[in-house]
Structure formats: structure tokens, C-alpha cells
Amino acid sequence: MAEKRITVRATRFDPAKDKAPRLQSYDIPFADESMVVLDALNHIKAHVDGSLSYRWSCRMGICGSCGMMINGIPKLTCNAFLRDYWPRSITVEPLNNFPIVRDLVIDMEDFMHKLKSIKPWIIRKQEYPLGAGEHRQTMDQIDEFRQFSECINCMLCYAACPVYGLNNEFLGPAATALARRYDLDSRDQGIKERLPVLANSEGVWECSFVGECSVVCPKGVDPAKAIQQTKLDTTMRFVLPYGNREE
């Protein structure tokens, strides 16, 4: 029986030579039912063309570095099985809405900046000394934010977001979800520091609730919900009397 094969088209862009990205087609063996798109890229790099550039690391949906557009949908390539596409061909492109550095590699500087701007760490007005013990939390208090803490910064939600695509100044889904993760944490007291970033004119108000960010998230985070709830909470802080008070 003839060996099973699959066609993978990958974006190639050499900033030194190319004016614009182009697609290059590779016909590779589909040897193993458990092969994912990342395995196909690794095969191309090892056996066909060593110059193909892409980011990857853990191969198990944790590191968040191998996100790419697969047939137009943002996905982690380590989590996209060839068997779900074969015998159709697969087109692998860099994540939408980001500048392309080389081949499948995008410039993530903008996201990194936005991530930092919402201060994704626990902010205390006054740190307790270590000897005072740990900050205790009940299971209910953890459930408040747990879903949002699953974010692995893979940027698939930014690639799926037309609002970000049309306006790169928009704070975007993952950064808002992570801001909410800390705002909802009973140990955190930093909501007033994050609020100006979340609720400024390029913040949550720009979101028109397309909802695709939550659809593509590989970790089940619901950034669309985080954004809408931030809009409502911010409005309530303003509308309700004493809404601006602490805690």
C-alpha cells in the first residue's frame, strides 16, 4: 500500500528578500495517526527545508508559543491533529493581526506590553511580613477567578479578534481576562491601579462582543465574559452611590 501523505502549505517570508509573504507547499508523509501540525512542521524543518522558522516549545498545550492560523482558524499547532484535516491539505500561516517577523514567527512585542500594563500580579497596599503567614483563600474565593487564571498567553484570542485587527491600540482579550483574574482575587488590592488601563478609551469599551476570542481559547478561558463584566462593574462603580469605595 502506498504511504499516506498530506500536503502542508506554510507561509514563507524572508525580510531580507521578500516584499510580502507567500505560501510554499510541502508534501510530507502522514506516518502516524497521532501526528499534529507541529510534527508536520518539525518534519519539514528536519527533512525538507531547514530554513523554515516557527516558535514552539512544550508540545503539550502549556507553553502557548506554537499558535498559528490553521486553515484560517487560530490554533495551537501542537493540539491540531493531521487526522482531522486529511485528506484535505493544511494551510499554516502566522497568527492574524500581528506583524510577521519571518515565516510563521510573529512580533509579540505589542501583546507583551499590554500584558505588563495591566499588572498581572497580586498588588497589596501593604505587604504582610513573611512571619504573618499565608493569605488564606476559600474554595469559593478561588472559583471566582480560577477560569481566568488558565490563560497561557498564546495570543490566539488576539488573532481571532477583529476589533484588535482593526485597531491595534485596543487592549484586547487576554490582557483583560488576566486583569480580571487578579481583580477577582481576594488577596489582591490593585483594582484601582488596573482600572485606568482597562477602562480608558482603548480599553474594554472598544470591544463590540464578537465573542470569537472565547471560542478559540485552547484553555477554556472566556475573555469576552471578562471584558463585558469589566464594562458592567466599571459602570456600576460609577453609577451606584458609594460605588467607588474600596472593597
Partner: protein, 133 residues
């Protein structure tokens, strides 16, 4: 990408907050009240399937003259226009008109909703005198 964007913009945008709040209110009003009006006054009444108040002058002015109905009509007509203004402004952005994000565009769209509100108040106060009949 302007990485100083957040520094220059680092405060709550209260106008955006207000427009979003009115957008949400108008969305609820439109969702809950509009379909039945369209069904009854726009389809069932004109087809003659049921008798509807606006089919006869007497019944129509009697109900429009009621102050509670006037207040209701103000909410029904005016508030959704803040929802429509917001959605149509962002629809233009989505369809490739970035100028719809600008302050002049905001003035035109939300100002339009304010004008519609004023016209609605004027129509409700001037067409049929308030009566408790």
C-alpha cells in the same frame, strides 16, 4: 503600535462609559419591547387579523393622550436610539471606516440620539393633549 498609548490615555473614559451604559439600556428596551409592537402594529393590525388601537383615530388619540403611555412611548422610542447609535457607529468601524471612532463621529451618532429624544418629547407633548380619559 504606540507603546506610550496607555500612558497618555491612562484614565477611565467616562464618556465611553456613559455611551456604553445607554447602549446597554437601549439594547434591553429594544429586545424586550420592540418585537411585539412590530408584530401587532406592523403586521397583525394592517392585515386586519386583530383590532389594534392605532387603526382608528379615536382609540389612537385616547391612548396616546394618556400620560403613562406618553412616558412609555418616550422610553420605547428614545432609549433604543442610544443603542442604535452605538451599534451603527461600531458597525461602520467594522466595515472599514476607522473615522467612525473619532470624536466628531461620536458627536454625530450620539448627538443624533439626543436629537431623536428631543423630537420624541416634542411630538409626545404637542400632538395629542394629555388626558386621563
Amino acid at each position: 503600535m504606540n507603546h506610550d498609548g496607555h500612558a497618555k490615555n491612562s484614565r477611565t473614559a467616562y464618556t465611553h462609559l456613559l455611551w456604553w451604559f445607554l447602549f446597554a439600556q437601549g439594547g434591553v428596551i429594544a429586545a424586550i419591547l420592540v418585537p411585539i409592537h412590530v408584530l401587532v402594529q406592523g403586521i397583525l393590525g394592517p392585515l386586519g387579523i386583530v383590532r389594534v388601537v392605532d387603526r382608528h383615530y379615536d382609540t389612537w388619540i385616547r391612548i396616546v393622550g394618556n400620560p403613562i403611555v406618553k412616558l412609555y412611548l418616550l422610553v420605547l422610542i428614545a432609549v433604543p436610539f442610544f443603542h442604535f447609535a452605538h451599534r451603527l457607529r461600531y458597525l461602520l468601524v467594522d466595515l472599514g471606516v476607522p473615522a467612525a471612532r473619532s470624536v466628531p463621529a461620536q458627536v454625530i451618532f450620539y448627538g443624533g440620539a439626543v436629537v431623536i429624544t428631543a423630537v420624541t418629547i416634542w411630538v409626545l407633548l404637542t400632538t395629542v393633549p394629555i388626558s386621563f380619559g
